[in-house]
Structures are given as C-alpha cells and as structure tokens.
C-alpha cells in the first residue's frame, strides 16, 4: 500500500517535469515526444491508483489509454506532415 | 488456413483474458465476435506474415529477455550521461547494415535498436538503417552485429 503511494508520488513528480518540457518546447517534436511520455506516465499512474484504491477496473482504463495514446501520437505526426488525415496524394490512393 | 486458425485462437485468448467471465452466453458472444473479426481480417487481406507472425521461432521470449538485459545496460549508460556534470554527448548518424531476410526480421531489428536507450532508428532504406546514437559507446558496430545475429535466429523456423 505505502509502496504504491510512494510510486504514485514519484510518477506525479515525473509528470510535472514532463509538463515543463511540454510547455517549453521549443520545437513541435519536443512537444509530441513529451505528450507521448506523458501518456505512458498516465498509464502507470492509472495502474498504481487502481492498486491504491483497490479497484482493479482501473487497469482496463489504463489499457485503453495506452491504445489511444499511441494512435493520437501517430495521428498528430501524420496531420503535421500531410495537413490531412485522409488521402495523402492522388497517385498513392490505392496503397 | 493455419493463419486464420492462429488468429482465431489468439483473439479468443485475448477475449478470455480481458473478460474473465465463463458464462455460456458471454462465451458464445465472444466466439461470434472473434469469428466476425476473422471475417473482417480476411476481407482486408490481413492474414499474412505481419498480422499473424506464426513464422517466428518460439524462442522469441528468450530473445526478449536478452534484449531486456541489453536495455538495462544501455539505460545505465544513458543515465550516467544525463547525470554527469559535463554531459559527454557526441551525437552521430550512423549507417547500420541489416543482414536479415524477411520484412518481419527487419522490423524486429529496427524496433530493438529503438528500444535500446542511446540509439534511435531514424530512416530505413533497403537493407540499411540510419540510426541516431547519443554517445560513441552506443554507436559501436559490435552491439548491432550481435543483435542482428540473434534476430536472425528468431525470424524464421
């Protein structure tokens, strides 16, 4: 129990440091990297909170968050690169 | 056919692991949704070596445990760089030859390089990878050759 509280505290400190990088930038890729790391840390915090509150259902939320985090990272990068989520170029339509 | 059966078994095992209920109604629903997913995967031509990697050797967990040891060692090296006062980084883009035969082998090799802290795969060309390394030690060619040798053992039966 105390171990989980301790690791949750450490994770919160890590999240605050990552948020500093998220706001400081300076490039977009710093921010995307920090957002991705933030997502990983959120997954860990959710799992640890599931143990602290003794509700294992939190793990399902953590798993879902891991999936959404990966997809959103790729989606942001794709949007920044092509300015579109759908068709990239007419000649690569069939791929 | 083997691929379809393998995917079905894997999907149903995932269903059981995530649901944890063994009531007849829920099991029936689970089988039905797995069959529907299988039908969709077949329609999308997904039943190939990438989606259902049955061609990999069963010693893959052994490779993962070896990789875990390597990750630990290089994480220690990167931590030392971060905590040292003068931060002795020497960034470099290096070319790494990939002697592997299958696409899956290339993917495992490139992902292993990225997983190891201190090296990140940046760009891929046929048979080669462009790797960004943080320090001179991380960029040593011996480590990559050893890793490629171990992936080659795993990639095909």
């Amino acid at each position: 129990m105390y171990m989980f509280l301790a690791i949750t505290a450490a994770l919160f400190v890590a999240v605050i440091l990552v948020l500093v990088r998220l706001f400081a930038g300076p490039t977009l890729y710093d921010r995307v990297l920090a957002a991705n790391t933030f997502g990983t840390l959120t997954v860990l915090i959710l799992s640890a909170l599931g143990f602290v509150t003794e509700r294992p259902d939190f793990l399902d939320i953590a798993m879902l968050y891991a999936l959404v985090n990966f997809v959103s990272t790729i989606a942001i990068l794709k949007f920044v690169r092509y300015r579109s989520f759908g068709r990239i170029r007419p000649e690569t339509e069939d791929r | 056919m083997t691929k379809a059966l393998g995917l079905l078994v894997a999907l149903f095992a995932l269903w059981l692991a995530l649901s944890g209920y063994f009531k007849p109604f829920l099991l029936t629903v689970g089988v039905l949704s797995c069959l529907f997913t299988l039908y969709l995967a077949r329609r999308m031509n997904l039943l190939d070596d990438e989606a259902v990697p049955l061609q990999l050797r069963l010693t893959l967990p052994l490779y993962w445990s070896w990789l875990g040891g390597e990750i630990f060692k290089s994480a220690l090296a990167v931590s030392k760089v971060i905590l040292s006062r003068d931060m002795a980084i020497s960034q470099q883009f290096i070319a790494v030859e990939s002697p592997l035969k299958t696409d899956m082998g290339h993917v495992i090799f490139a992902n292993s390089i990225t997983l190891t802290p201190g090296t990140v795969t940046v760009e891929a060309a046929p048979g080669k990878f462009l790797v960004h390394a943080l320090t001179d030690e991380a960029a040593g060619p011996e480590g990559f050759a050893e890793m490629a040798r171990r992936v080659a053992v795993v990639e095909t039966r």
Binding site: M3, A6, I7, L11, A14, L17, V18, R21, T27, L28, Y29, D30, L33, N36, T40, L41, L44, S47, A48, F51, P56, L59, D60, M63, A66, L67, F70, T73, L77, V80, R81 | A17, G20, I71, F72, V78, S79, I82, L83, I89, Q91, Q92, F93, A95, N111, T114, L115, P117, G118, T119, V120, V122, E123, K128, F129, L130, H132, L134, D136, A139
Partner: protein
Amino acid sequence: MDPALIGLACDLATGIAFLVGGTFLLIGTFGLIRLPDVWARFHAAGVIDTIGAELILIGMMFQTGLTQTTLKLALIGLFLFVTGPTATHAVANAAFVAGIRPQRLTRNEAEAVLGDDTPEGMKA
C-alpha cells in the same frame, strides 16, 4: 514454503522493482529537461518508456499473485513494449524529414543510407 515468507519475498521484489524503475523514471524525466536538443531527448524518453515503465509494471505484477489482474498488467506491458519504439521512431522520422538537425554532429553517414534522397544539409 511458508505463505508469509512468499508474501515477504514478493513485497521485497516489488520494492526493488519500484525503486530501480522509479529512479530510472526520474532520471529520464530529468534528462528530458536537461539535454540540449530534441535528438538527445529521444534517448531520455527511451529510458522512461522502456525500462522505467516495464520495471514498474513488473513490480505491480508481483503484488497480484497469478490472477486476471496479472494477465492485464502483462498485456499493458507487452503493448507498451511494442508501441513505444514505434512511436519514438515516428517522432524521430518526422523530425528528420522536417529538417530538425542535432546541434553538433561528430559523425554523419546519412548519405551512405539514403543516397540521392539525402536532404540538403545532411550530405557529408
């Protein structure tokens, strides 16, 4: 074996995994702040995503025994293990294509890999 002894051993294993994982986690986030440019920061994020996250999840697995919860933790761990490097590669590749370059390069073999497709400013 005595169940109390096994419980103690599991607690000890969790403690060690949390201690080592948490230390790597904090070092990684510190590196994310301290390292000079985005290319160096990829490696700090790698420390957090791989060893920090996996060790903490393994530490949690010692506390659940052999139940469904353990299986879910293992699934989360496997998922992070597979998608972590893919996401890092995606960010690194996007930064490379967008023309973000390291502050100082000691060695550059980009031309050996990319040939004629090498972007301007990366040719040796």
